[in-house]
C-alpha cells in the first residue's frame, strides 16, 4: 500500500527509514506570495518529518483561515487535513484527535487567527494539552484580508489605510505560558535550521507544543521598522494594497546560524531591522518563572527571543487523561458501542 503518488517536485534519490522519499512529504505547489515567510516554514515541516521518519499517515493537519492557514495544502499531501474556520482550528483538532490518540496533530495558524479571533480557543487548547504542534506563522498583520493590524502588531506600527496601531502587542509565547503550555518556543522563518530543530523537538513532545514563528509578510506588513516584516520598498509605497502585481522577492535567510546567547540584527529588504536574541547556553527551559522573565526582558529591549523557551515534558496529553481503549476510537464497531438489550430492560425498570 505504499505505491508512489504523483507528487510535486522531482523524483527523489533517497528514502528515509520509513521507506519514503522527501517527495512523499510534500504538498501542492504554494500559491502564497513569493518570498512569504510561511513558505519556508512549510518546507521545514517537510524536512523535519522526513528526517524523523514519521509516516505522513500518522499526522493530521489542521488550520484556521488566513494565508498561513492555507499552507497545510503545501505540505504532507498524504496526511489528512482540516482547513476550518477563522480562529477555530483548536476545537476541531481537539475533537479529531480523540478518534485516534496515536495520531500527531500539526496545527497551522496566523497571528490574527490565533491572537485575535482565536485567542479563546488558543488558550483553551493549550490548557487542555492537546497532542499537537501548534504553529503560529506570525507576521504581525492580516495577510489574507490585505493588511490590517493583528493583535501581535507592535504599538506604533503604521499601515496603509489603517493609521497607527495604538495598542501593545500580544506576546503569544507569554500567553501560552500563562495558560500552562507544556512546550513553548519562538523562531524566525528566516532561520530554517532553528525552525527545523524546534519543529523536531515539538513533534517529539507529547502534548501541546506552541511554536511562534516570526514569518515576514512581503506584501503587507511593510512599515520599515516593523518587528515582523519588511516593506515592499520605498519606491512601491503607493500600490501596496493593490496586489494585481506582486514583485518576485526572495526569502530573507540568515547567512549564518545563530549561536547560543547571540543577539543579532537582521536586515530586511527595505533596510529595516529586527533584533533576534538567541537563548543563552545556560538558560533552563524547565523553569516557568525564568521563561516569563526572559520574555519580559526581551520585550523591554525590543528583542525577539528565539529558541526553546519552556518545556514540561511529563504532563499527560489530553487524550491520555481520558483513559481510552487501545484501539483507535474510530475503529470501534457496534459490538463495542451499543450496550446490550438486557441493559435497556434494566434502565426501563429504573425509570420508575
Amino acid at each position: 500500500m505504499t505505491e508512489a503518488l504523483p507528487m510535486a517536485g522531482i523524483a527523489p534519490a533517497q528514502v528515509n527509514l520509513a521507506g519514503l522519499a522527501k517527495n512523499d512529504y510534500r504538498g501542492a505547489p504554494s500559491t502564497l506570495c513569493q518570498g512569504c515567510g510561511h513558505n519556508s516554514i512549510s518546507n521545514q515541516i517537510v524536512s523535519a518529518l522526513y528526517e524523523m521518519d514519521t509516516r505522513p499517515e500518522d499526522v493530521v493537519k489542521f488550520s484556521g483561515i488566513g494565508c498561513s492557514s492555507k499552507s497545510p495544502t503545501y505540505f504532507l499531501n498524504r496526511s489528512f487535513g482540516f482547513n476550518g474556520l477563522h480562529g477555530r482550528m483548536p476545537s476541531v483538532a481537539t475533537g479529531a484527535l480523540f478518534a485516534n490518540a496515536k495520531l500527531k496533530g500539526i496545527g497551522i495558524s496566523g497571528d490574527g487567527d490565533t491572537a485575535s479571533i482565536g485567542m479563546g480557543q488558543f488558550k483553551h487548547v493549550v490548557r487542555r494539552n492537546l497532542n499537537m504542534v501548534y504553529i503560529v506563522e506570525n507576521n504581525g498583520v492580516y495577510g489574507l484580508t490585505k493588511g490590517q493590524f493583528s493583535a501581535t502588531s507592535e504599538k506604533g506600527l503604521a499601515l496603509k489605510k489603517q493609521g497607527t496601531n495604538p495598542y501593545m502587542p500580544v506576546d503569544i509565547c507569554m500567553e501560552a505560558i500563562a495558560s500552562n503550555a507544556t512546550f513553548v518556543a519562538r523562531s524566525f522563518a528566516g532561520d530554517p535550521k532553528q525552525v527545523k530543530e524546534l519543529l523536531k523537538a515539538a513533534l517529539a513532545h507529547r502534548g501541546i507544543a506552541v511554536l511562534d514563528i516570526i514569518s515576514p509578510c512581503v506584501t503587507f506588513n511593510n512599515q520599515s521598522n516593523a518587528f515582523h516584516s519588511y516593506t515592499w520598498g520605498k519606491d512601491h509605497e503607493e500600490p501596496l494594497h493593490d496586489i494585481t502585481y506582486i514583485a518576485p522577492r526572495s526569502e530573507i535567510m540568515l547567512e549564518e546560524e545563530m549561536k547560543e546567547g547571540e543577539v543579532r540584527e537582521v536586515a530586511l529588504h527595505d533596510g529595516s531591522t529586527i533584533i533576534l536574541k538567541n537563548l543563552d547556553k545556560d538558560y533552563n527551559p524547565t523553569n516557568r518563572w525564568d521563561a516569563l522573565r526572559i520574555l519580559e526582558e526581551a520585550q523591554k529591549n525590543d528583542w525577539l527571543v528565539t529558541g526553546l523557551i519552556y518545556i514540561e515534558p511529563d504532563k499527560p496529553a489530553l487524550t491520555d487523561i481520558y483513559n481510552l481503549v487501545d484501539t483507535p476510537l474510530n475503529r470501534l464497531t457496534e459490538a463495542d458501542l451499543r450496550p446490550d438489550p438486557a441493559s435497556l430492560d434494566k434502565i426501563n425498570g429504573l425509570m420508575f
Binding site: 495544502t73 477555530r88 481520558y322 474510530n330
Partner: protein
C-alpha cells in the same frame, strides 16, 4: 357534592431553591404508581434561590397530560405568591396553605385548608434545624395524600426511588409525610370534591424526562464523543451522558470507548464535535437557542464539507436570553437554514420522551448515512419535565455507519474514488477518515470551493455542480428521516399539523372537537425536515390544515407553505408562544374559530373561565372579544402573574 375522580390539576407554589422538587416529584410518582395517568410540569424562574416557582401536576383518567389553564387544587407554600396562588384556584376548588403565611383569605368559593407545617416539622427531633424547610415540603405531601387519597405506600416507594434506597433521608421525609397525613386525618374535614382512585392505566409504563431519554438514546446509538457547554434547558442532556455512560459502556479493562468534554463555549463545543465527526466518531453536542446562534458558522461548514454530527437543541424562549426557563418551538426556521449561503439542514422533531430515545440513536445513523449535521429539536417542556412513556425500545436496526471506507474498501474502488465524487447518484459520496493508512485515503477538508477530489477550486461550473449534488443529497435524506405520524378520523376533511411536544394538547383537542363539537379532524405530526412524501400527501388530501406552532411567527407553517406553494392557502397558522406549553383549549378554540368563525358555543362556562376573562371580564362574552382573545391564545389567569 359530586365526586371528581382522577381528573384535575394540582399546582404547588413554592420558593425556588426551597427543595420542593423532591416533594412534587414524590406526589407525581405516587400517583403514577397508583396507575393513574399523570404529568408534572415545573414552572421555574431563571434564579437559584428565592423567586416564586410552581409545579403543576395534571391527573387525567383518559390519559391526556397536556397543560391546562385551570387548577382545581392549589398548595401555597410561598408568602410572596400567596395572593396570586389563591386567586388562581378554580371556583369550587381546594386551597391548601402553610398556616405561618398570615395573609387575608379573600375567597369564599374555594375549600381552604391551613396546614401547621412548621409546627409539625419542629415536633420531630430527628430533623436537624437546617433541614426543616426541606422536610416541611413533605408535610404538604402528607396532607394532600390524606385529603385526596394518595396511597402512603406508593409515597414510600417514590421516596425509595428518589433517594436511591438510602434509609436515613427516606425515613426523615416519610415521617414528615406521615405527620402531615395524621394531622389532616385528625383535624381536617373534606370540603372539596377531588379524589384519586387507583387505576391500571400506567402499568408497564415508565416515567422520565426527554433529556435523560435523549442521553440514553445517544448511548444506545453508540455515541463516542460529546462536547457541550452548560445552558438551560439542555444541560441535563449532557449530564445524562456523564451519568449513564460509565455504567452502560463499562468494560472489563476499565478503559473508555467515549469522551465527553465540557468546552469553553458553544463555538468550541460544535468545533470539537465536527472534528470528531469528521474523524469517524459518532459525535454530538447539545445546546439551546443562544448556543445554537454561536454554532451557526460551524453548522454551515459541516453542511458544506459533509461532516456527520448530531446537534440537540432543547429549545427555550428567544430571541436573546429571552425566557431562559420557559418552553418554545422558536428555533425551527433558524435551524432549517442554519449557516450562511445555501445551507439546508436535516432536522428531527421528536414528539415525546419515547422519541427522544429513539431519535437519540437514529440521529447518528442518519448523520453518518447522509454525511451531514442532523439537528434534533426538543424543547424545555419535553426535555426537563417528567412524562409517562412506553418503555424505551431497543434499536431495531443495526448501526448504519454510512459510506465510510477503510483500507480494504478503498483498495477496491480506488480508481473511481474522490471524496466528493457521487458515484451512486444519490448525492452521497464515500468518505475516508484520519488513521486510514491507505496512501490514497487522505484529503484536506476545506470550507472553500472544492472539486470532487477535495482540491481547492474557484471554478464557477464546479461550484454550481457541487451545490446541485448537495441538493440531491438533501432530497435523498427524505428516504432516511422518520415519516410523520398520521391519525385519521373517518370522514374528516380537515387536519391539524403539529410537531414536537404539542402532540398531547393536539390529541386532547381532537378528542374534544369530535366529542363535544362534532368536528372531525385528522392529525399529522411531522417528525422531520426535509418533508417526506407522506407529508405532501396529507396536505394534498385535506381541505383545510391547521398548523400548530409554539412560536409567534408560525415557523412550521412557513416551512410547509414554502415547500407546498400550491397548497399554501389551505394552510392556516395557529401560532403562539408565551413560554408556557400548549393547551388543548387553545388548539380547540383556534380550530373552531377558523372553521366557523366562533368559539365553542356549548362550552360557555369553560370559555368564560379560560378565554374571555382577560378580554371581557365583566360583560357577557361578545363574539368579537372571544374571537380576539382566542386568536391570541386564551391567556390563563395565572399566566399574567408569572
Amino acid at each position: 357534592m359530586n365526586k371528581v375522580v382522577n381528573d384535575f390539576s394540582i399546582t404547588v407554589g413554592t420558593k425556588n431553591g426551597s427543595g420542593s422538587s423532591t416533594a412534587n416529584n414524590t406526589i407525581l410518582r405516587s400517583i403514577f404508581k397508583m396507575g393513574i395517568p399523570v404529568s408534572g410540569k415545573n414552572l421555574f424562574p431563571s434564579n437559584i434561590q428565592g423567586l416564586p416557582t410552581w409545579y403543576t401536576i395534571r391527573v387525567n383518567k383518559d390519559g391526556f397530560v397536556a397543560r391546562r389553564e385551570v387548577q382545581e387544587i392549589v398548595i401555597a407554600m410561598n408568602p410572596d405568591s400567596f395572593a396570586r396562588d389563591l386567586a388562581s384556584v378554580a371556583p369550587g376548588g381546594a386551597f391548601f396553605y402553610a398556616d405561618d403565611i398570615k395573609q387575608p383569605m379573600t375567597r369564599t368559593d374555594v375549600a381552604a385548608y391551613a396546614m401547621p407545617v412548621k409546627e409539625l416539622v419542629r415536633k420531630d427531633p430527628n430533623v436537624p434545624s437546617d433541614f426543616r424547610d426541606l422536610v416541611g415540603n413533605m408535610v404538604y405531601v402528607g396532607v394532600l395524600a390524606q385529603m385526596i387519597g394518595i396511597d402512603l405506600e406508593k409515597i414510600q416507594s417514590a421516596l425509595h426511588f428518589h433517594f436511591k434506597g438510602k434509609q436515613k433521608p427516606i425515613d426523615m421525609n416519610m415521617n414528615a409525610v406521615r405527620a402531615g397525613a395524621e394531622w389532616a386525618q385528625a383535624n381536617l374535614e373534606k370540603k372539596d370534591p377531588f379524589y384519586l382512585e387507583p387505576m391500571n392505566k400506567t402499568e408497564g409504563m415508565i416515567m422520565t424526562d426527554g433529556n435523560t431519554a435523549a442521553a440514553l438514546g445517544s448511548i444506545y446509538g453508540g455515541v463516542q464523543f460529546a462536547a457541550w457547554y452548560p445552558i438551560t434547558p439542555a444541560t441535563s442532556l449532557a449530564e445524562g451522558l456523564n451519568d449513564y455512560l460509565p455504567q452502560l459502556r463499562k468494560r472489563e479493562d476499565g478503559k473508555h470507548t467515549y469522551a465527553v468534554v465540557q468546552a469553553e463555549d458553544e463555538l468550541a463545543a460544535i468545533g470539537m464535535t465536527i472534528g470528531a465527526g469528521w474523524s469517524g466518531l459518532r459525535s454530538m453536542t447539545s445546546t439551546s437557542g443562544p448556543g445554537l446562534s454561536l454554532m451557526t458558522e460551524f453548522a454551515g461548514l459541516a453542511y458544506y464539507t459533509e461532516v456527520p454530527i448530531v446537534v440537540w437543541d432543547v429549545q427555550r424562549v428567544g430571541p436573546s436570553t429571552g425566557l431562559p426557563t420557559r418552553t418554545s418551538q422558536g428555533d425551527l426556521s433558524f435551524t432549517a437554514y442554519l449557516g450562511h449561503g445555501d445551507t439546508e439542514q436535516i432536522i428531527l422533531l421528536p414528539g415525546d420522551v419515547y422519541e427522544c430515545f429513539e431519535f437519540g440513536w437514529k440521529a447518528f445513523d442518519i448523520a453518518e448515512r447522509m454525511q451531514s449535521p442532523v439537528f434534533v429539536l426538543s424543547d424545555l417542556d419535553m426535555g426537563m419535565n417528567q412524562w409517562m412513556s412506553k418503555p424505551f425500545k431497543y434499536p431495531d436496526t443495526p448501526m448504519d455507519r454510512g459510506k465510510i471506507l477503510w483500507e480494504e474498501d478503498l483498495e477496491k474502488i480506488k480508481n473511481n474514488w474522490g471524496r466528493y465524487l457521487d458515484t451512486d447518484g444519490d448525492g452521497i459520496p464515500y468518505r475516508t477518515v484520519p488513521g486510514n493508512k491507505h496512501p490514497l485515503s487522505a484529503y484536506l477538508l476545506r470550507g472553500t470551493g472544492h472539486d470532487e477530489h477535495a482540491r481547492y477550486s474557484e471554478d464557477a461550473a464546479l461550484w454550481a455542480k457541487n451545490m446541485d449534488r448537495l441538493k440531491t443529497k438533501y432530497d435523498t435524506a427524505e428516504n432516511f428521516v422518520p415519516k410523520p405520524i398520521i391519525m385519521k378520523t373517518p370522514g374528516a376533511k380537515i387536519g391539524i399539523i403539529g410537531y414536537g411536544s404539542t402532540e398531547s394538547a393536539i390529541e386532547e383537542a381532537r378528542y374534544q372537537l369530535e366529542k363535544e363539537h362534532g368536528v372531525k379532524v385528522d392529525f399529522m405530526r411531522v417528525r422531520a425536515v426535509p418533508f417526506t412524501a407522506e407529508v405532501d400527501e396529507f396536505i394534498r388530501t385535506h381541505d383545510q390544515l391547521f398548523v400548530v406552532d409554539m412560536n409567534r411567527g408560525g415557523q412550521m407553517h412557513k416551512l410547509l407553505a414554502v415547500s407546498h406553494p400550491e397548497s399554501a392557502t389551505k394552510l392556516i397558522k395557529v401560532a403562539f408562544n408565551d413560554g408556557l406549553s400548549a393547551t388543548a383549549s387553545w388548539v380547540r378554540e383556534s380550530v373552531l374559530m377558523k372553521t366557523n368563525g366562533r368559539p365553542s358555543s356549548a362550552k360557555k362556562a369553560a370559555a368564560k373561565k379560560t378565554i374571555a376573562k382577560k378580554a371581557a371580564p365583566k360583560k357577557a362574552v361578545s363574539k368579537k372579544a372571544v374571537k380576539e382573545s382566542a386568536a391570541k391564545k386564551a391567556t390563563p389567569k395565572k399566566k399574567g402573574a408569572k
